[in-house]
Amino acid sequence: MNKKIRQFKDSYFFYSFKRDKVAMASFFVLVIFLFLALTAPWISPMNPYDADNIDIMNSELPPMWMEEGAPEFPLGTDNQGRDMLSTMLYGLRTSIIIGLGAVFLQGFIGIVVGLTAGYIGGKTDAILMRLADIQFSFPYLMVAILMSAIFQVVFGLGSFERLAIPLLTIIIGLSNWPMFARTIRASVMGEKNKEYVEAARVIGLPRVTIMLRHVLPNSLTSVMVIATIQVANAIMSEAALSFLGLGMPVTMPSLGSLIRSGQEYIFSGSWWITVFPGIWLVIFVLVINLLGDWLRDVFNPKLYKG
């Protein structure tokens, strides 16, 4: 174990992390966000999902540093009288759950399809990649929007809202798998003719073992880079879907539905309902994107830094 840590400390990965201030700062912010999201039920001032805590008389209070602001609502309240800070913490939690879940699903489908296509080749490869190409030719947001619209009509609004988290995870997961499949296929194609794979085949290992134990680990770096960017994309898609009213309901808000519910109040001057969750979302997505950029540069030094 100690050796592993020392190895990690001496690695190029850790070295370039220490040298890059932007990456360090982003990582730091990301850890804070994750911590806040994880501990949201304990640290947030109130539980926004519990109707008993909500008093409609407190609605649309401005942040505490403005006139009429109340100290128990540091960032003000929304149109239903919920504390903005609490809803933002809970919303972040929802966004992260959906984002990570969706990327896991994308990764799973991508790995299965990419490995099969790349390793088996031939007709299987042609069919699977054609499928990926076809889905790739539609923008993934469009696919996600159409899918959630159809789901919403099929399930009815009530049950869609109850099942929103798993459904959104599935929708966003299904809408963007070809990215993973293509990358994994490409790196498998590069790996499969190398000698160690040949050796494994000569020993007589079954195909599945070679694919999972030998080829896959060597394709994982590219998967990691994509996964980071995809988490940012998935969170943005979730926000977009919720903003369109095809995602999380207002009673269990994610950051997107918070922005949606605040949108109409911007005309009456209650900017904080929209702006705070908006900034929250932008910072979160920005740090993930910055980390993703950095990861890409580390693993792919040859890649032109544009």
């Binding site: 030719s137 469009m142 009509v153 369109l244 922005i259």
Partner: protein
């Protein structure tokens, strides 16, 4: 080449059939064509009779074939929300979305070309550093948030631009289809904010793309040769280098317009823009399944068509595409 075109077209047809099958089975399961036709106030006996007359009790495949045949004739069902043929509803809303896209494309071209070229020619200048650092922020900013903030700033706070709707429109052909906002001052004013917020989505991408393509071209041998010949810098940059950065940029542009189409839904919702996206969201809310499926088929059709044309076009320009295809 001929075989390549045939294969591409065949593939397009198969994709369209698959999508229409999905669309039709949804419609078949949960749609209610009788309600679309005559509304809700009909006795069950009459409903059953109408259902029988329009063939709702036929086997699934027979109905699907009928659906495809009618779709080919331009009949995609009837929207009960508008009480009109669904295709007509979509076509009436299309110009608004198309104008939004044209306006956005113009802004992207006008802004990204000079900025991209400038930051390629002088990578160390203040302006290029500014554009580069802002492009990551731009990627992380959701379009709807940009749109809302722009409304707050320009419509609520400064009150110099309208915040929603299309403003005054002109009926271009006099038949009520193409209501254009391009020809009135009011219409143009209403276009500014939606187009601008939509363009912020793609601007970073294009500035970076133009920059990196241009920098790559500037390193090539023939540019060095042009310098050695003693040509003026403007001629080298604009005529020799710039022209060759354009092909990849134009290709990406074609693809990105499609992606932007998805994002028009978001801007249309924020700005209450009566385009296809707004209509679609309304159809979802009111569970107008016929309109929903018609939208699905039309959008899929547009994408498949564009992709096929681009692919075939690409096959002409770049013969290697055809060769790898045959393998």
């Amino acid at each position: 080449m001929f075989a390549f075109i045939v294969r591409r077209v065949l593939q397009a047809v198969i994709v369209m059939l698959a999508i229409s099958l999905v669309g039709f089975s949804i419609k078949n399961q949960i749609g209610d064509p009788v309600r679309d036709l005559v509304g809700e106030r009909v006795t069950p006996a009459e409903r059953a009779q109408i259902a029988d007359e329009i063939g709702l009790n036929d086997p699934f495949l027979v109905q699907y074939v009928r659906f495809v045949k009618q779709a080919l004739k331009g009949d995609l069902g009837r929207s009960f929300l508008y009480n009109k043929p669904a295709l007509e509803v979509i076509l009436k809303h299309a110009p608004a979305t198309i104008e939004l896209l044209i306006g956005t494309a113009l802004i992207i071209i006008v802004v990204s070309l000079p900025l991209g070229v400038q930051s390629a020619l002088q990578p160390r200048s203040m302006l290029s550093r500014f554009t580069m650092s802002f492009s990551t922020l731009g990627v992380s900013m959701p379009v709807f948030l940009t749109a809302i903030l722009l409304i707050y700033l320009f419509a609520v706070h400064l009150q110099i631009l309208p915040s929603y709707g299309r403003g005054e429109t002109v009926d271009v052909f006099g038949n009520g289809y193409w209501m254009s906002g391009f020809f009135t001052v009011d219409g143009l004013k209403h276009l500014i904010l939606p187009c601008f917020s939509l363009s912020t989505l793609m601007l970073p991408l294009f500035i970076r793309l133009i920059r990196s393509e241009m920098m790559e071209v500037l390193e090539t041998e023939y540019i060095k040769y042009a310098w050695a010949k003693g040509l003026s810098p403007t001629r080298v940059w604009m005529v020799h280098a710039f022209k060759n950065t354009l092909l990849p940029v134009v290709t990406v542009f074609g693809v990105q317009i499609g992606i932007m189409f998805a994002y028009t839904l978001l801007t249309e919702l924020v700005f209450q823009w009566q385009g296809m996206g707004f209509m679609f969201l309304e159809a979802v809310q009111r569970a107008d399944i016929s309109l929903l499926i018609a939208y699905l088929v039309v959008v899929a059709c547009v994408f498949v068509l564009v992709n096929t044309v681009v692919d075939i076009f690409y096959g002409f320009i770049n013969p290697t595409v055809r060769v790898t295809e045959t393998k």
